[in-house]
Symmetry: C2
Subunit: 219 residues, 2 copies
């Protein structure tokens, strides 16, 4: 077990270290980052970092949980709207979520996407991202399930629909960040609405037999 | 203009250098990569690299074009199938494309996704990825256009549909690589088929008035 587990770091100290890590990461990128770069972003002595964290790996895992908590905290939505509106509200939170402290949603997402790609090579980060991914997908899946129960959406695998929407959100953010497509998030919602929501809504009005006639999707 | 422009590197030499770069990148990752790591993967003296390339940035841009050419080369498909089958063939090529030399499709894609994320910080790589993205999206868009012209798909913006499908492919690959979801590519095609192709096919059978009644997507 690492030193940083079980809340042993006082909240204010953790916040200072995490924000310093964020600034250092934004400046240097993940692979080039050294503990001393983080120390230089702090007002406290950098011995504080070494006191609370067992090196870069431990600090980075804690940081990953920190930005994921911020992201997920931004996706809380009141759950009483009709399914399409509820879906829109949640997707918008994921795509356009608010900034925190001095950094914007997109500053956060830039670091988030860099760590996501880096998880290719890091089992611990992969495990943290997988738990997070499950929660985000779950929040979307829940709305689809509710729509099916209320007879507004057709009967389908809600988890597959939730996964598809989560993937579209992720890809649109990546396209904005890596390719500079600033309209990608807005396009993503319009595509989710035109294709996914359309398909969920439309088929509730048609019989199963008619549907499998039309699309042959079981072939 | 860099030394590597206009085909001045003999093809066999370029191939050797590119494959050495690929091996070194797979081992060290992009940010930690030094020119000498690439030299160590080559049979020829590493002076050959310095003779043909102006440093790491020039070499990496050339390498990015090399792996993109391989990827795009794998997406060539005969264009005479019905639109849904044609779409399936192209999406499958993007998701499961063949390996080259000693590396698999996924070894290639791992490096590709790392460079994609790094393009956040690199204008030259961003420009190369944008051209590539335009071609891949174009190859999907073309099939949607053809389906609309033949009356098999409903009337919609084919570029938006092409973009959505391209995004879903990209996200599924990223999920397999970063989160270890080995079934993500297979799920991606099933989702594209169930939702996007379903929506494209189904609405061709319904009137526009009925459609806007059902989904209210112009709201």
């Amino acid at each position: 077990m690492s030193k940083s587990d079980e809340g042993s770091v006082p909240p204010d100290t953790r916040e200072d270290i995490m924000e310093a890590t964020f600034r250092a990461l934004s400046e240097h990128g993940y692979s080039a980052l050294r503990m001393r770069d983080i120390g230089e972003e702090m007002e406290m002595t950098r011995q504080v970092i070494h006191y609370h964290y067992d090196g870069k790996q431990d600090l980075m895992s804690s940081f990953l949980e920190y930005i994921i908590d911020q992201y997920e905290g931004s996706v809380e939505v009141d759950g009483d709207a009709p399914p399409r509106e509820e879906l829109e509200a949640r997707v918008h939170q994921c795509l356009f979520g608010p900034g925190f402290e001095e950094f914007s949603h997109w500053d956060r997402m830039k670091v988030y996407h860099e760590l996501f790609t880096h998880a290719q090579n890091d089992e611990e980060h992969r495990a943290i991202f997988n738990e997070h991914y499950g929660r985000i997908r779950g929040s979307i899946t829940e709305v689809v399930e509710d729509g099916i129960e209320r007879g507004v959406f057709r009967d389908t695998d809600p988890e597959r629909a939730g996964q598809l929407i989560t993937d579209i959100i992720h890809a649109a953010r990546g396209r904005k960040l890596s390719l500079g497509h600033d309209d990608a998030p807005e396009q993503a919602w319009r595509s989710i609405d035109e294709f996914v929501v359309d398909s969920l809504l439309a088929d509730a009005e048609r019989s199963d037999a008619e549907r499998s006639d039309l699309d042959g999707s079981d072939a």
